[in-house]
């Protein structure tokens, strides 16, 4: 059966799609799509067979673009992205997640929206912004953004989200009520290093088995085995506690990848201008540097929070995009890397979809 591997790339100026077969050695690039709008995240919604691209334009506000023919034609909508007459104007969509027949969107300023028609119309999941901590949420460098949505694989009412910089919140009732889940996570920029809320999560993900949560934070990398009730730091062995992207192996819940950067106030480049992806096979107890095929020097490269992803083939492919517009890929779980596209606009997100037949 023929396998198509698509890498979905959101950039500062439009979205792009790279396509290959299962070998993942030769890639074809197409785009730009979405009228060259800034696209923060692009995903494939299997329930509707549609590509969804979320972003925002400074003139016209937030939009989710939809394509039912794998990118050949697109339409867009932002209907329902509003906090009402008293609320702030929504600037952009930051993150999309399709699960249990619904599509969720995280936006700036931070809030959660839900669509039950495949991303055409949206309704506010108001319980999150009703949390008593919300007046005290403060923006990070990228804005006050809801950038991570982790849905439970079996329970549609259970979900985690992360906001920079308010922290991780969880719901067990479909979004009606939320609780902070930040215990054990450092906030070095606050007078209290372990506040209940205010942590600067950079990326939150749930492992393939649904049991483990991981996060790359402004202040370290963490794991949680109890749904975020308690977090355990796993930064030791990495060259920096600062970074943005995180990716989890599609089949092995113990394997994860991160790309540390040199620090929030040091330019946000890879340390020592050497491009390294770090892999752990033991839930973060130890880390291995992956460098084959990556720039060994003079690499003043940053990788943003949404810009690393894995595919779902047996031997997983790993991909990351840089703020310089390069897309790198590995067809063997990070052991060897190649440049898949060298001259894209600044890359904000990378996702994959594997199609058979």
């Amino acid at each position: 059966m023929a396998v198509r591997v698509l890498v979905l790339v959101g950039t500062k100026s439009g979205s792009f799609i790279l396509e290959s077969d299962a070998a993942r050695t030769s890639w074809e690039l197409r785009g730009p799509y979405c009228a060259t709008w800034p696209i923060h995240h692009m995903v494939y919604d299997r329930a509707n067979g549609a590509l969804l691209a979320g972003g925002g334009n400074a003139w016209f506000g937030p939009a989710v673009w939809r394509s039912k023919d794998l990118g050949m034609t697109w339409s867009q909508s932002g209907e329902g992205f509003s906090y009402g007459a008293e609320g702030p104007e929504i600037k952009t969509v930051w993150h999309l997640a399709a699960a249990h027949g619904a599509v969720y969107a995280g936006v700036d300023p931070a809030g959660l929206f839900r669509s039950d028609d495949g991303g055409v119309t949206w309704s506010h999941v108001a319980g999150l912004r009703a949390h008593p901590s919300s007046p005290h949420w403060v923006p990070g460098a990228g804005g006050l953004i809801l950038h991570s949505i982790a849905t439970d694989p079996t329970d549609p009412a259970r979900m985690w989200i992360a906001i920079s910089s308010a922290g991780t919140f969880a719901t067990t009732d479909g979004g009606a009520t939320w609780e902070p889940r930040n215990r054990g996570v450092r906030a070095e920029f606050m007078p209290d290093r372990y506040p209940e809320v205010g942590q600067c999560v950079h990326k939150l993900l749930q492992a393939a088995d649904g049991a483990q949560l991981y996060q790359q934070n402004h202040c370290g990398v963490y794991r949680s085995a109890d749904g975020g009730m308690q977090w355990e730091e796993i930064t030791e062995g990495l060259p920096s506690d600062f970074g943005f992207p995180l990716a989890l192996h599609p089949h092995d819940p113990n394997t994860l990848y991160t790309i540390p950067l040199n620090g929030a106030e040091q330019g946000r480049y890879v340390p020592n201008a050497t491009m390294v992806v770090w892999r752990s096979r033991d839930r973060g107890d130890s880390w291995t540097p992956l460098t084959a095929g990556l720039p060994a020097k003079d690499a003043y490269i940053g990788v943003l929070r949404e810009a690393m992803a894995v595919d779902t083939l047996d031997q997983a492919g790993i991909y990351f995009g840089t703020s310089n517009g390069q897309l790198y890929g590995s067809a063997n779980e990070g052991d060897n890397w190649q440049v898949l596209a060298a001259n894209l606009p600044a890359i904000w997100s990378v996702e994959t979809v594997v199609l058979e037949g």
Partner: protein, 89 residues
């Protein structure tokens, strides 16, 4: 007939939207004028108003040469120009 001109970037976004159009109407607020355009070209109101009460931060609407807010009165023979502000691009 009031005449209205839309910015090219908006006509890319909403394929049914022309660059210029004539609108038969009675005097009304700009808010109501946008509502009447929404009925004719669905989706346009969302792209001009960031909330029910405000024009988007980087959209400028001029009525008869004067920059307008949503309570500005549009006359039956007004010229309405909608522009994408340079601040947004």
């Amino acid at each position: 007939m009031a005449r209205v001109a839309f910015p090219p970037a908006l006509t890319v976004l909403i394929p049914s939207l022309p660059r210029q159009a004539e609108v038969s109407m009675e005097a009304c607020t700009l808010h109501a004028f946008i509502d009447s355009m929404e009925a004719r070209w669905p989706g346009v109101a969302l792209r001009l108003r960031g909330s029910p009460t405000l024009i988007r931060e980087h959209i400028r609407i001029f009525v008869d040469g004067q920059q307008a807010t949503l309570d500005h009165i549009v006359q039956p023979h007004s010229v309405v120009r909608i522009l994408t502000a340079v601040s947004g691009g």
